[in-house]
Symmetry: none
Subunit: 207 residues, 4 copies
DNA sequence: GATGAATGAGACTTCATTCAT
DNA sequence: TATGAATGAAGTCTCATTCAT
């Protein structure tokens, strides 16, 4: 069945291997701390080879960031914002989104390290990419809010754009915390976060 | 009246000038993008002079971060967490904290750039300092929550540590947003953020 | 016959070229006076290249010193201290040692410049290495003395350790002098030194 | 009696204090390792002041070397080379010279450190000064030898210049050793050295 | 005379990137 | 296609020396 991979396929495979290792190294040492020779050495590959697959250091970092953000974006679009017809439906949606988001981070903490920490020091372009992703997730959140308002289970006077950003901030902070401590049980920590944030969102914290 | 400043005073003044300029440059270019010669040139001084006032690049960055965090810390401790006796008292406290926090950032957007962006890529030590500061603000927030629960105007079943982190995440995100766009009216933007976040905290967003 | 050298061989060759040139430069200007860019320029190579072959400036200097000392050490061990059975045997041994030692220095005066002059100002570590080498040669000399005392052709009341040091001091001073003036006929100068020192050792200078 | 010192006297005093401290620091850290600010700080004096008393770093080092060498030179000229009329007279002279020389070094080990070690790495000019001093002491030694030959208590066939250098080499090595180890009893060590070297010179080491 | 702030030449070292093999 | 030797720009930091106060 599986024939010998073609030239293009092998190239693609190698590219993937490089990206994979680069993710590890960048997450560990940050953009400036990492160096190409290092990544190449860990792959037992000449560091000149690197430049056959990527334009330069900046290039691979950007691609890495884009891939990571892509993964995050997928989560946001898995659910349909207009599906929920009640507070209860919405609660279930939130739970789903939260879980998938969190799982992403404790399954591969490199993602969080890259996004929350190391990408910040890698220059304006990277940061803008990040911001764009953030904006995207906020847009999705706005949909959820607008749907809730339309369906009547959310307050009609919400400041949608700002509220959406605030909610996403809590979600991302949750991810950061869950990723941060590798000792604790990440599944349990995730559940605590999801519960607490949903309580804030759905119930408010005051009586 | 104002006599000529003494030697120590002039040294202190110069140190301040360097810190001031360094803040600008670091906020603009980040830790790695900035270089000492650059900072010195903008101050029209030899770059050797820099090393009369600071041990090295890392040293001044740390000092800058500490000063900035100090400013933020002051805001948190201005209010007494146990003062509020009702939902209304708490609302007023929140409003005060939020305003002061926000004002800090739109009065000097470099602070936010440093804390939210550039410090992240400056290595583990800096990041830990930041995290420590975050923890501190979270501890203060926990006090507010515990007070509210004790006084009976907050739900008794809050997950205090996690909730505190989530709330602070919204506050910091607000600061980030207010700082981000220098075009918009920052005062108005601040008010919107404070209102929206307070609505989430106090009322929840669902009916 | 001589095939093209392999990569390792070429690397080794280049390393040798660098060491060779560095020896010249260090001997000329001393440790502090020499600089890497200088050495690299004389080899018509980028100074970054240097760091592919040596850790740093200190590193290559140490290696140079060790190589030079190795050469000197070999001379001391070429003869067997216990071989001489008479004053005449010992005279022949002394002559052999002296000649080889001297030859080393007038064949390559850089060795002496490094050992006698420049290494002294290169810090404690280098100096200790030198001292260790000196100690070694003194130990060997002690063997010669002890053998002579045992065989009965040397005074029985010699202060062996001190006498050994004193003798080596004359040998080294001879090397220094022979190396110092490149104009004079070094072979003849060597012979004069060997003769004079042997006269002191074997006969004393007084009647 | 002792009136307040005049301006010139105070200047001279300060100059001496600087020289004294500089000797300590140079002996400790070597020419390149020492720095002017350091010396000034230890004298609780502005380092700009240094340049009122000395042209530059090189200048003071040269002066230091000259003073130290002067001290050594005095020892050589204390005795009259032509005074000794017999082997016994010469023995007493040698003993005197040896003792004074050694005492110099264990009374102030900085002298030896400077002359034997640190001066070597301080450039050609300093080295030439040293060599000149060495030559001087060798000239004096030659006088002793020539006197001995004239008076008939020394062999007539000595190679005077070379023998003189060889003898001085032993003397200097003795100083170096006595200075090197501050733990041992320097007086006793001195005596051992003097005895051993005199034995070599006067008796030879072979039977 | 004394000071020490300012200077900048100069040294070391790193590492992204190129290119001949 | 893969390699890794070579490169040099760039950056950090030191310290002898000058000079205004």
């Amino acid at each position: 069945m599986s024939s010998r991979p073609s030239r293009e396929e092998r190239a693609e495979l190698k590219r993937e291997r490089i990206l994979e290792e680069a993710l590890t190294v960048f997450a560990e040492k940050g953009y400036h701390g990492a160096n190409i020779a290092d990544i190449a050495r860990r792959l037992e590959m000449g560091h000149g080879t690197f430049y056959r697959y990527f334009e330069n250091k900046h290039d691979i970092f950007i691609e890495l960031i884009n891939r990571v953000l892509q993964k995050l974006a997928v989560v946001m679009t898995e659910q349909n914002p207009n599906e929920a017809n009640s507070r209860e439906d919405y609660r279930r949606q939130l739970e789903g989104i939260g879980e998938t988001f969190m799982r992403l981070h404790w399954e591969d903490p490199r993602i969080g390290r890259l996004v929350f920490y190391e990408a910040m020091g890698a220059g304006a372009e990277v940061r803008q990419t990040l911001e764009r992703m953030n904006d995207l997730s906020v847009l999705a959140t706005q949909e959820y809010l607008r749907n809730g308002m339309a369906k009547g289970y959310m307050r009609a006077d919400l400041d949608v754009p700002v509220t959406a950003r605030a909610l996403m901030a809590m979600v991302f902070e949750g991810c950061r915390q869950v990723m941060r401590e590798p000792d604790q049980n990440p599944e349990q920590a995730s559940r605590r976060w999801i519960a607490a944030v949903m309580a804030i969102i759905l119930d408010g914290i005051t009586l």
